[in-house]
């Protein structure tokens, strides 16, 4: 809202295509960096850091799904399963071969990318709801496979404990240390996606989304780019799964069932399809809002109910309020929170002289 384009003249293509076209945007980033790197971790209690940590992991997963659904226009109900692929690949490598996280993390991502591309094959022939069902099958097949193949799942419990990640002998075992670990990957994912979408690949994705026949005519290999989109999206999902695994200290496929796929779809739809900032907003909204609603209701409700009654009242009404808020935000802006934010910004861009 303090962004003013006045007096900023771009004289090169590079300047025009910069991620932060205005000088003040760089300052904004610097301030955000200061807040997230120094101020928040030093001032916040572990509890709040743990919520931020969950948001960071969700951001990575939501960005991945948004690349596929928002940017390429393919739908997937298998995001949770791709996370579990990454999680188990990394957990097996970490336990059986004793590899450090900076190897297991990309390996988990690549494994998920390979499986994701495979599950994405039907997207070449079918679209929309049909594709949703095909990817749903992918989700169920992956769940079943992990459940029934001990070589992957590590036994009847289908869970593999992993050691805490360590970096140069520095074990990341507290919320504060994990905060920096996860923040790094969340920022990496955001910057990577921003850049991906400015590249040839990203523009090809958008062309496929908007009209795939037209895209094919102008020379975009649909086969390649659809599968690439599935692979990249699943790579993010795999990394997200690995982050969950290291954060929880265990890989367990029950943590990545169909409900998770749907939660992530909800995140990107609420946040805004086809936008990086929207993925971040969505991840924050879905993770944080239930907690905020509960905290508020507990504060207010404690005047009216006993502790025991309050617990049953809060958990029921909380879901209703959460659902109501989702509907409210989607009704006032169907394109999601990102669009809402842009509307606010463009209003203040010319404020107070709106004509």
């Amino acid at each position: 809202m303090f962004h003013r384009e006045a007096g900023v003249f771009k004289t090169t293509y590079a300047a025009d295509m910069a991620l932060y076209p205005l000088p003040i945007a760089k300052w904004t980033i610097a301030v955000l960096a200061l807040i997230f790197i120094v101020i928040l971790p030093l001032t916040l209690h572990d509890y709040y850091l743990s919520i931020l940590n969950l948001i960071f992991i969700a951001v990575v997963g939501a960005l991945g799904l948004n690349i596929l659904v928002g940017y390429t226009g393919q739908i997937s109900l298998g995001h949770g399963a791709f996370m579990s692929v990454g999680a188990y690949a990394a957990a097996n490598l970490a336990v059986k071969l004793d590899l450090p996280f900076w190897l297991t993390l990309p390996a988990g991502g690549l494994m998920a990318a390979a499986i994701g591309a495979l599950v994405g094959v039907p997207s070449l022939r079918i679209k929309g709801l049909y594709l949703a069902i095909a990817t749903l099958a992918g989700q169920l097949i992956i769940e079943w496979t992990i459940n029934h193949v001990p070589a992957i799942s590590g036994g009847a419990q289908a869970s593999i404990e992993v050691p805490r990640p360590d970096l140069f002998g520095f074990v990341l075992n507290t919320q504060g240390r994990l905060y920096y670990f996860l923040l790094f990957f969340a920022v990496l994912a955001i910057v990577a996606t921003l850049n991906l979408m400015r590249s040839r690949i990203g523009r090809a994705f958008i062309a496929v989304r908007d009209q795939d026949i037209a895209a094919e005519i102008i020379g975009i290999d649909i086969f390649r780019y659809k599968l690439l989109s599935f692979a990249i999206s699943s790579f993010y999902a795999g990394v997200c799964g690995v982050l969950y695994t290291y954060y929880f200290g265990i890989a367990n496929y029950e943590q990545f069932q169909l409900g998770v796929s749907i939660d992530f779809l909800a995140m990107i739809i609420i946040g805004g399809l086809g936008s990086v900032l929207g993925s971040v907003f969505g991840a924050i909204f879905v993770t944080l809002l239930p907690i905020v609603i509960r905290t508020l209701m507990e504060q207010v409700g404690s005047f009216f109910f006993t502790d025991s009654e309050l617990a049953s009242v809060v958990s029921g009404t909380r879901l209703a309020v959460f659902g109501g808020l989702i509907i409210f935000f989607l009704v006032i802006e169907p394109e999601g929170l990102n669009r809402l934010w842009r509307n606010v910004r463009s209003y203040f861009r010319v404020w107070p002289f709106s004509y």
């Binding site: 572990d46 009847a156 419990q157 200290g249 265990i250 367990n252 029950e254 049953s312």
Partner: protein
């Protein structure tokens, strides 16, 4: 000299006021218990009854002056059977200074095992998590405090043996939910089949377990077992009762594990009358015939309210009371060990490991928790549907304890 005296006096006054201050602080003595619940997720039918049971017992303890003078404050978080909210709940309990927490859900327990150990807060997981968590050395801060699926398998086979008067040459069908928790009892059953010489065949029911016509037909008409053990969750138990009954299998030859054994499951299958003879395994006492349940009813009456309807669903309600009672007992042991001072989570963990001879009139089994055994011995009871309600058929017992212990030892040596 004068100055010296003054400073001594000052010091004395300072210490005195400090002592008074800390004494005043101790007046409002309070302990915080964390409790995770599922009131809105896929297992809400359990949580909506179990958690009020927990709260009611704590309210009863508080109405009687608390535990050794400490009032209990329960911080409840509904984790909706999802993992991230369970992590958030744990951190919240830590922030509120909880001395222990009650976990809810198998994946949630798996995700928190490590955190509990790092943060040195004990978590109880009755009916959840892995059977291996009974080993206190391997999982120092996870307390199943109730019969694991392994112990339930032992109890089921022992009950079948008693019912049939021997197992040699008999056929037993095991119907299980096709997930890790469902598959967990398999090694025990396979072991017992070999040792006792009975034939075991397993029938997997895929999630969500509301369709099992083909499995039950297979069991009743082709395999024709002498006994059926079911291990199902959610809506699946009631479907299994309906299907077995419908295909003409006598329910008196069926025994269900602990998550298929509540009044709600039986009622959903068509009512108590339909399920006559259905056997259930329980890890907490059933029914209202306990002093503590009467005390809770009296507490409501004294407050001018009628007893809540959750109390009628005695299986889950009593499990809530059971968990709360063990939490309170652990805290009591810890406070006593500290001579009345506020215990740390570490003290409460030690207190939990001293729980013994605490049966609450039979609602809690004669369990003994030790540093090595966090399951307390794997005690079960069998309750059977008779004349429209659940009746006790077999008092607290440990089925094939030596076999279970051998498996636990093998698990401990594995890594």
């Amino acid at each position: 000299m004068m100055r010296y005296k003054k400073s001594v006096l000052g010091l004395a006054v300072a210490t005195g006021s400090l002592a008074i201050a800390s004494g005043a602080f101790a007046q409002g003595k309070e302990l915080v218990f964390g409790l995770q619940c599922d009131r809105t997720g896929p297992t809400a039918t359990v949580g909506q009854v179990l958690c009020p049971g927990y709260h009611d017992y704590i309210a009863l303890v508080n109405s009687k002056g608390g535990i050794e003078g400490f009032k209990i404050k329960v911080v409840e978080v509904d984790n909706e059977y999802k993992v991230p909210p369970a992590i958030e709940a744990h951190e919240r309990f830590k922030k509120e200074g909880a001395v222990l927490e009650g976990l809810y859900g198998t994946p949630q327990t798996a995700a928190l095992n490590k955190k509990l150990e790092e943060d040195k807060i004990l978590g109880t997981s009755p009916g959840f998590g892995t059977a291996a968590a009974a080993d206190g050395k391997k999982f120092p801060y996870t307390f199943p405090i109730a019969a694991s699926y392994w112990s339930q398998a032992g109890a089921a086979v022992e009950f079948a043996k008693e019912k049939m008067g021997g197992l040699k040459g008999k056929k037993i069908a095991f119907v299980f939910y096709d997930n890790p928790a469902g598959k967990e009892p398999l090694p025990i059953l396979e072991d017992l089949a070999k040792a006792e010489g009975f034939d075991l065949r397993t029938f997997a029911v895929p999630a969500p377990g509301v369709e099992m016509g083909s499995q039950v037909t297979d069991i009743v008409q082709r395999y024709k077992p002498d006994f059926v053990i079911t291990h199902l969750f959610g809506r699946a138990p009631s479907v299994s009762i309906k299907e077995l009954k419908g295909k003409g299998y006598p329910l008196s030859k069926v025994v269900a594990f602990v998550w298929g054994s509540a009044e709600a499951d039986i009622v959903a299958a068509g009512g108590m009358g339909v399920a006559e003879g259905y056997n259930t395994i329980q890890f907490a006492g059933v029914g209202k015939d306990f002093q503590v349940i009467k005390d809770i009813e009296a507490m409501y009456k004294a407050g001018g309210k009628s007893a809540p309807k959750e109390m009628d669903s005695t299986v889950y309600y009593n499990r809530g009371v059971f968990i709360a009672a063990l939490h309170a007992e652990a805290a009591r042991n810890a406070i006593k060990a500290k001579g009345g001072a506020a215990p740390t989570p570490e003290d409460v963990k030690k207190g939990m490991e001293q729980v013994k001879n605490f049966t609450l009139g039979g609602l809690v089994p004669p369990m003994e928790l030790t540093q090595a055994d966090h399951e307390g011995g794997g005690w079960c009871e069998i309750w059977t549907v008779k004349g429209g309600k659940l009746m006790q058929t077999k008092k607290w017992f440990q089925g094939y304890r030596s076999v279970i212990q051998r498996h636990l030892a093998a698990e401990a040596n594995k890594s």
